[in-house]
Symmetry: D2
Subunit: 150 residues, 4 copies
């Protein structure tokens, strides 16, 4: 798989006094979509010890977001995840936010997360290779798809 989509509705507590979703919440939305993606092929992001090749967590090392159009209370929206890159010990995800049936030619917002798989080696938390489960299920998205909204 190289892409995944979820839909969601803006909750009241996610808005701020400007009447729109607080910009920090787009990072929570991206993470929720990433976790749903990972769940879709049978694992969870925080499996605890001794599961899935020893992975105990996925710290984020980079995150970013560009905001183009506001998102308001009670509006439905789609989060579209794309696998941008797959490294030995890290995954780069791209995210695009859309309104359903959106006629717009650019997303509401676009973001990125770079996450590293970590495990415990001799008592210390260290980056470790992606597990076979991730290697098997995750493919890099086609270049033309990744280049679509720059």
């Amino acid at each position: 798989m190289f892409e995944f989509r979820i839909t969601r509705r803006v909750e009241f507590h996610e808005t701020d006094l400007a009447g729109i979703v607080h910009f920090s919440n787009f990072f929570r939305y991206m993470e929720v979509c990433e976790h749903a993606f990972v769940r879709s092929f049978g694992t969870v992001v925080h499996p605890g010890e001794n599961n899935d090749g020893g992975i105990i967590g996925w710290p984020r090392v980079h995150s970013e977001c560009d905001y183009r159009r506001p998102l308001r209370y009670d509006e439905e929206f789609e989060i579209h995840l794309l696998v941008h890159d797959k490294k030995e010990k890290a995954i780069h995800y791209d995210f695009r936010f859309w309104k359903p049936g959106d006629a717009a030619t650019t997303p509401l917002a676009q973001g990125k997360l770079v996450v590293v798989s970590v495990g415990r080696i001799a008592g210390e938390v260290k980056a470790i290779p992606l597990s076979p489960l991730f290697l098997q299920h995750i493919q890099i998205a086609p270049a033309e798809l990744l280049a679509q909204y720059k």
Copy 2:
């Protein structure tokens, strides 16, 4: 000690589209005040294992809040903690929220937290007695103070 005060300023992300502090954030404010209180006599709420009489945490078993006047972005406010009760394994806190120099006769909001001290007994997390540090530093507030804003 039976009371404690901190002041704080409303942050933008704490507001919602109604232009006021989202009601759930008053519980975060209460907890921040409780933790500052506990820090003031030399411990932290989550000391980890084998510290302070074996206490490893303080789960909340009850919380409540009454909201009387709105609190807005950038406004300063005071959180006033009072020890309402001290049980063998639990503490009942009262909280009152004020604007500095407030001429009002009732608080902006009033709340309560009931927290239980837990430790690990034979591998299981269970309620345990308050540590000597808490017993030494925490007194119940005078009844007339507790009864002031019902």
Copy 3:
């Protein structure tokens, strides 16, 4: 209608270092359920000006929660809303949190929200009577149902 149910999954950002859902988030869950309930009979909680009998918002005047069992990352749970009381200008909601297929005889948590309908009268935000839409769709739950988990 006197009750409503939604299911939800715990998101990573809703947990705290104790490994469970932060207690303040139960209030966000209650509100999300209330808003879904209101949406189910064709309105939204923040309709803006001049809609639904002039109601412009539903400030919370009281909230509370009792926590009995922990709720963890990635767990599914059900929020069960019951209309506890219907006043001229306010609604009292009860909430119970369950795991699906829960064999337990008490909820994970139980909560309450008291919300007031407000509108603009001569420029000022004031409590106003419930709109016909609310009066038509909301009934008080049977007493034996409300008394079930005290």
Copy 4:
């Protein structure tokens, strides 16, 4: 001014089950520091209508963060803001997070916010030039300072 610093302590609700500050909260920290910076020269980020050259808000159009070392509950940290660029209608801020007395040669985390000043023109919210107050008080930081932690 081209830089500003605040210190802060990690609050319990800001952590997640991995025991560290949830990555999304670094964006809230950056914003709190930006708002304190703006307050320091006599304005607020959301002044309402008809104030400070007609600016009614500062939507974020870009945000990013790189995470290098974890930040834990109850730890104090410093947020260091630098003005990276000043455009006609936008400000680019850089942020660096440090522990006090940090011997480390790289920050805990580094981030960026790009914010646009908006006002109401003929009823519509549009980007407008920075107000005289901002032009007077904000200078771009020296290039060697900005280049220090790439």
